[in-house]
Symmetry: C2
Amino acid sequence: MTINLKNFLNFNKKPSKMGDFQELKQIEGLQISAVSAGLYSNGRDDLSLFYFPEGANYAVAYTQNSIVSESITWNRKNTKNNIKALVVNTKNANTFTGEQGLNSLDEIAKTLVESLKKFENENEYEKTKMKDILFASTGVIGEKFPVEKIKKNIPNLVSNIRVNQNKLIWLKMATAIMTTDTKPKVAYSEIKLGDKKIRIAGVAKGSGMIAPNLATMFSFIFTDADISSVVLNKYLNKVLANTFNAITVDSDTSTNDMVTIFATKKIKNKKLNTISSKEALKFEKALRNVCTDLSKQIVVDGEGAKKFITVKIINSETVEKAKKIAFSIANSPLIKTAVAGEDPNWGRILMGIGKSGEKIDPKKIVIKLGEFTVAENGKISESYNEEKLQEYMKWDSILIEVDLKQGPEQYECYTCDFTHDYIDINAHYRRS
Amino acid sequence: MTINLKNFLNFNKKPSKMGDFQELKQIEGLQISAVSAGLYSNGRDDLSLFYFPEGANYAVAYTQNSIVSESITWNRKNTKNNIKALVVNTKNANTFTGEQGLNSLDEIAKTLVESLKKFENENEYEKTKMKDILFASTGVIGEKFPVEKIKKNIPNLVSNIRVNQNKLIWLKMATAIMTTDTKPKVAYSEIKLGDKKIRIAGVAKGSGMIAPNLATMFSFIFTDADISSVVLNKYLNKVLANTFNAITVDSDTSTNDMVTIFATKKIKNKKLNTISSKEALKFEKALRNVCTDLSKQIVVDGEGAKKFITVKIINSETVEKAKKIAFSIANSPLIKTAVAGEDPNWGRILMGIGKSGEKIDPKKIVIKLGEFTVAENGKISESYNEEKLQEYMKWDSILIEVDLKQGPEQYECYTCDFTHDYIDINAHYRRS
C-alpha cells in the first residue's frame, strides 16, 4: 500500500508525505472493550464491545444484498430505540449458518446481559436487556458460528471495559474489527453546536467488499451529541449516498455490510429538530467529513490497490445519471487495469461512459485526466500531450473527470486500481 | 490458453484432447478476399471483403453502447435490403474520429464501387452501389482513420477476390479480422430443409470486449439458404439472447460490437415464412449451434483466460430473473479470481446471487459446483467434500449451477476466470 492519504483532496498535486492517523478523543457516554476469544488462532483481538452505560440513540444502514448475515436478521427482529451494547466478532460472518447462527446470538445476548449485571449494579447503570443489544459479524460464511468460544469470553470482554478512550484505544478497537485490512481506519471531527462542543469519532473496516471469504464493510460512528434516532437516520441517509455508497473496490457487495451512528446524548446541545437549520447543516457537514474520510480509507486499503481513483461527473441533467456513469467507469476492470499500468487510455473511459446506457452527446462531452483535457468535440483533444499524461498517470491519486454539458448536477465516486495483488489475494484467500 | 474445446459441452468429464478447427465449406453466392493494407506494420492481413455477386438478404445487431463507431453510424444511415459487400478493417475502430471518420467511409465506398466495375462487367454481376456496402471497424479509438492506406489497397482487395472457400480460406478470413485474439474463430453447420441441403458458416473475433485499445466482438455468419431479411432478423434476435449476449469476459461493452447474418439465396429451399414450423425450428437450431460455438470460442480466448466457466440458473420464476443472477455471478471479479485460484469458494457464489437484488429464498436454493452440491437448506451441504471439490476445480471447464426452486425457467451464460495475464494484457496494452 503506497497511497498517500494527504493527497486525497489534492488530485492535482504530487504526493507528499504519508498522512498520520487522526487524534481521536473521548466520547462521553461510550465505553469500549476488545479481547481475543480465540476465533483467530494467533491471539489477536477478535471480539469487541461498544457499551453505552446510559443508552444511545442510533441509526443503521444494512447491505443491499438479498442474502444477509443472521446478525442482521437478529438486529432487525426488534425495533430498538435505545441501544446499550454493540457486539462485534470477526473470523465468522454468521451467514448461511441457519438456526444455529440465529440461536447463537440469543445465547450470547443472554450471557452478556448476565455478565453485565454486577458491573451495572456497582455503577448504578440501567440494566441491559437482550433487545438493547446489536450484533455485527464479519468473516467466512457458511461455517458453524463459534458460539461457545464467544460465550466463554463474554465475562472477560465485560471485565475489560474501559471508560475512557484516547487515540491508542481507538486504534485498538479499529484493529480488533479488521479482517484482511492492512491498517486500522479511524476518523474524527469536532464542532460547536450553539455554545457546546460536540465530538464525532468513527472506526471502519473493509478491504475489497469481501475478505476473508467474502466479507464486509463496517463503519461504527459515535457522537456525544444529543440527537434523536429519527434525526440521526435522516443524516445517515443523506450522507451515505456520497460516502459509503460512493465507493467501489470490485463491484461486489457483502452479505454483512453495516453502517451505524450512535448518539450518547451526553452533551446537551441545541436540539436539531429540523435537518436544514444552520446548526443542523454544520453537524451534517462534520458527519459527512468523518464518513468521507473512512470511505476513502477503505478504498485506499482496497485489496491490492496501488492507486486511488476519483471519478467525477459534472454538468449532468440529474444526479442519478451522473452516478450511473461514474460507477460504469469506476467498476470497469479495463479502466482499473489501465490505471494500474499507468496508461492514459482515455478510449476506455469513453467506453465506460457509453456502456452506462445513459444518453449523452458524444460531440459535447469533455474528458479530463487530472487537469489535462484528453477528448472534446467528438475527438481527441488538440492539446493532447501523451508525455505529460504519462507523467500524470504515475501519481498515487488519479482524477477522471467527465463534463457532460447537459445540466447542473454532479456526482463523484471513489475506487482503486486493479493489480496482480488483487488476483493473488482473492485467488488463494481461503487457503492462506 | 489451455482450455479444451471438446470439453465445452461436457462439464462433468475431465478434459480430453484439444479440439481441432471445424471443416468449413463453400457458401455459394459468397466470394471473399483479405489483404494487408499496412494498417499493422508487420504485413499481416488487416483489410477484408465479403462480396455477394448476386446480393444477400441480411440481419444485423449492433453494440448497446451509446457511443458507437462511425462505421455503425454509416451502416445505419441507409436502410439496406440487399447487401453486396461487407468491408472489415482492423487496427482502427473509427470511433471518436468525428467528420473525418464518417467522410472516410464515403470515400472508401466510392473507391470500392469504382474498383468493382470491371470485375462485375466481366462476370455480368449486378453493379454494386454505395448503399449496398456495410462496414465493420475494430481497433484503437480516437486515432485518425487511415483512409488513404485503405483506399490505396481497395483495388488489390478486389483483384484478390476468391470465388471458392475451403477450410484454409475460412481460417485466413477469420485471422484477418483478429486484433488481440490468440486464435481464429470459425464454426459450421449443415442441415436439410425439405430435400435441399443448406450450409451455415461463421467467423468471429473478440477477446475481452476490448483489445487493442478497447475493442470489439464481431461475428459474421453466412448461409446459402433463401431466407428473407425479415425472417433472418427474427432468428438473429431469438438466438442472440442465449449466445453472443450470454457471454461476458470482463463486463465491459465495446463501441463497435456487430453480429450479422447474410443469406445468399442460392439454395432454393422450402420457404421459412413462419419461425415456428418444423423446418424453421431446424434452421434456428443450426444457427444457434453456430452462434453458441463462436460465443464460447470468444470466451475461451478471453484475455488471460485459463478456465471456461458456465453459470446455469435453473428453476427460476422468469428467464429475466435467472439471467440477472447468472450475470451477477459471471461478472463478479471475486468469483472469477477464486476460479483462477482453483478455490471452491461457494460463499462468493452466494454473495453473487444476493447482490443481483433478485428475491430468492436462501433456505430453498441449492448451489452445485459440477456434480457436487456445496450448499442447500440454508447452510453448507452435508455431503460437502473439500478434497473432491479441490480436485474438480483443477478442470479446465467449470460449471456453477444454482437451483432457485421457484419456477420453470432457466438461463445459462458463459465466462472465463480472471488471471494475472488479464492484468498484464490490459495494464500495458497501448504500449506493447
